[in-house]
Amino acid sequence: MTDWSSTSQEAPGFAPVAIASISMAGPHDYFELMKPRVMSLVVFTALVGMVLAPGGLHPVLAAISLLCIAVGAGASGALNMWYDADIDRLMSRTRGRPVPSGRVTAEEALAFGATMSVFSVLVLAVTANFLAAGLLAFTILFYVVVYTMWLKRSTPQNIVIGGAAGAFPPMVGWAAMTGSISIESIVLFLIIFMWTPPHFWALALLKSNDYATAGVPMLPVVAGETATRHQILIYAVLMALVGVAPAVLGFGGLAYALVSSASGLVFVWLAARVWRIREGAPARKAAGRLFAFSILYLFLLYAVLLVERIAGAIIG
């Protein structure tokens, strides 16, 4: 018996085989391709969209729809990792991902992402409705083609426009329940859309060297840190205003009004600190705080909407 466990290249009677090319990827590597942390945010925001929606979809069908939205988001993450493997390899934040680290080949990531995309859209069409499936397909297409392939490497407005992809899930969730788009779902979309620029630019201030090395034209790299700080402050103010819109429109209650106002003010205050403190370690600390709080802010807003609706249903 011949031992092919080392680095042999030709098996007797078979075509040459590079043992090193035999996949060592495990299921967890494929799961990592789906960007689980991003996926968890998608699941959460889509869930809130579904709970707020007045539709009457069966709870089991709603759960399957939510799974489809999660898988669709994960599939777009896998396709992003397939296309971006070359620049992910250059950045400290991303070089440990499955493709650049060599655990999964780019072709495997492409096949995985494409398959999951198709299945998630088709199953959502069968489970919920064609509008929700169409929106999910558009979200995947927007993230992969418009953001990843086009905007990300060509303009510092990449995450402003590309942020729409991350903002669609609550709208997809709403559409799955109702078969329609409404002002409420548009507001849920706008909150995430306006939140994305200050969130990612705070990170970009911390990782601008990474982006510069990879040639990604993030705002701090192209327009400089001062311009980025101006933009962060402007978007933070706009985002805080949009953040209270659910209370103004009536689908957010008193608790939401209080939480969104208070956390919006904190967000703007932290953005103002980023704008004011521009040198050395304190500047990095200010950007780090804004980035961390931005995650808490979005979670808080959506969580309060969710709790209010559930509490309202229980109390009657």
Binding site: M1, T2, D3, S5, P12, G13, S23, M24, L61
Partner: protein, 62 residues
């Protein structure tokens, strides 16, 4: 594949590629994951069919 290689094969047992234990373990894990996904899809389609069409599924006109 060259004729010379085929000639050598007459003397060597045709046992193909022998994977390492780690490679076998990962392949098994992938196979189990794919099986789990396929079973989940079967369950999902069954449940969706029942919930969407209900007991009238067998009473539909052809």
């Amino acid at each position: 594949m060259s004729g010379a290689v085929m000639g050598e094969n007459d003397k060597i047992e045709l046992d193909g590629v022998k994977l390492t234990e780690a490679q076998q373990k990962r392949r098994r894990q992938r196979n189990v994951a794919i099986a789990a996904v396929l079973v989940s899809l079967v369950v999902i389609f069954y449940v969706v069919t029942i919930l969407k069409m209900g007991p009238g599924i067998l009473a539909r006109p052809l």
